[in-house]
Symmetry: C2
Subunit: 240 residues, 2 copies
């Protein structure tokens, strides 16, 4: 029997079963459009730590308590928030060294669902190789957990899951998970022109008037950063 | 705004939301390994009607009441049952014109979940073209509902969903469902050698000692029959 570490892919929070929260897996949370891409952007631009909150009331209360708050629902910035959740929102010097509160439609809920994992990491195309290197070094079982769109399978998270799975398979990881095998095949379809492939995603179309071309280009550009955000208690910080 | 009929794909019973049971969709239930393939085989060999039951107790009671019962759990025939659920189990003359009771691990539960659909049809590779022709003629919105494996995404049902989606897209159906778009891409990967592609499925591997080569060959052979089973009340019969 093989003792290779395994990779599983979970396409929706509704499929994230109890066995994935038993502390035996490193969970990589993925919400390509936009939470996890933007979280990587924020850390890449010097943010010190991020507090992910699920509820709007909580985000509003944190604002009243003096925090800098990034918050959207269905891709639109909330009126009480300082900024939205686009990657380009974090390209500002006054956030360096700061603590941010971050709340989005799907992404932060998913991050909070991964609290009981052995380790909960943040993945996106912009940090994929750094993340793979870290996981290969750790050599533990991995679950790639897609935030999805209102609990439904989406292409952008699934294709990322395939890309990351392949990097791990190429380095000794194995799987008996059809979602991982299917995701790798989707990645192979998408890889020759990732931007064009993801442009057909219904989620991208839904957000088209809210995701600028600049943000979308950033999102589909691999390895612009080496940051690896990890959940520690209530906060995201960089792995040490 | 387009009035084309739409196609959606649901990869797991856990993702089968309330909107899919509001009577606005024709639902195609899919459990390639093995329920829906075997149901098609049974009708193709002259069975008159099939009563799908979810629970073991119910299946056992039906047996005591004199019904001919096909029943498995996790791919193994139950001791009280007459036969299992392999396609080859139904290639016998004494079932012609009969009523069967049918219960499997995933398939019959999924069929019963589709009761509130406008119409609930049974799909598999063996009847895919006949099914597509029927749906094209009906010209109504379609949900392809995968039984999955213990609620987890599986390749064989998803690839079938992609194959059927493509036949519908080629005939005026549209979608804004990422699952349907992803399923079509998986179908394109699988199509050149469906048998080889599905041999990598974890579900196929799990069932390997229980699914004979003969049954697997039958399962991946397209269009061996034109039967279209439909749920009417508590029974499956052929569409009229």
């Amino acid at each position: 029997m093989s003792t290779d570490p395994t990779v599983e892919v979970c396409f929706s929070p509704k499929l994230y079963g109890h066995k994935l929260t038993d502390g035996k897996f490193i969970t990589v949370v993925v919400d390509i459009l936009r939470a996890t891409t933007s979280i990587c952007a924020a850390f890449d631009h010097g943010v010190k730590e991020i507090i992910p909150v699920s509820g709007l009331d909580e985000a509003k209360e944190m604002k009243q308590n003096g925090y800098f708050v990034a918050c959207e629902r269905n891709g639109e910035i909330m009126d009480f928030a300082d900024i939205g959740n686009s990657a380009s929102d974090f390209l500002r010097d006054d956030l360096k060294g700061k603590t941010l509160v971050f709340s989005t439609t799907n992404g932060t809920k998913t991050i909070n669902m991964a609290r009981d994992a052995r380790e909960a990491l943040i993945g996106s195309f912009v940090n994929i190789q750094a993340l793979a290197d870290y996981l290969i070094e750790k050599n533990e079982n991995v679950v790639i957990f897609c935030a999805a769109w209102k609990s439904l399978f989406n292409l952008e998270d699934s294709v990322f899951a395939g890309a990351l799975s392949e990097l791990l398979f190429d380095n000794g990881f194995s799987t008996d998970c059809d979602s991982a095998l299917g995701a790798v095949d989707l990645w192979h379809r998408a890889k020759p022109d990732l931007k064009k492939y993801l442009s057909k995603s219904s989620h991208r179309n839904r957000l088209k008037h809210l995701v600028s071309d600049e943000d979308f280009n950033y999102t589909v550009t691999l390895n612009s950063t080496k940051v690896i955000p990890v959940l520690k208690g209530d906060k995201l910080e960089l792995v040490s």
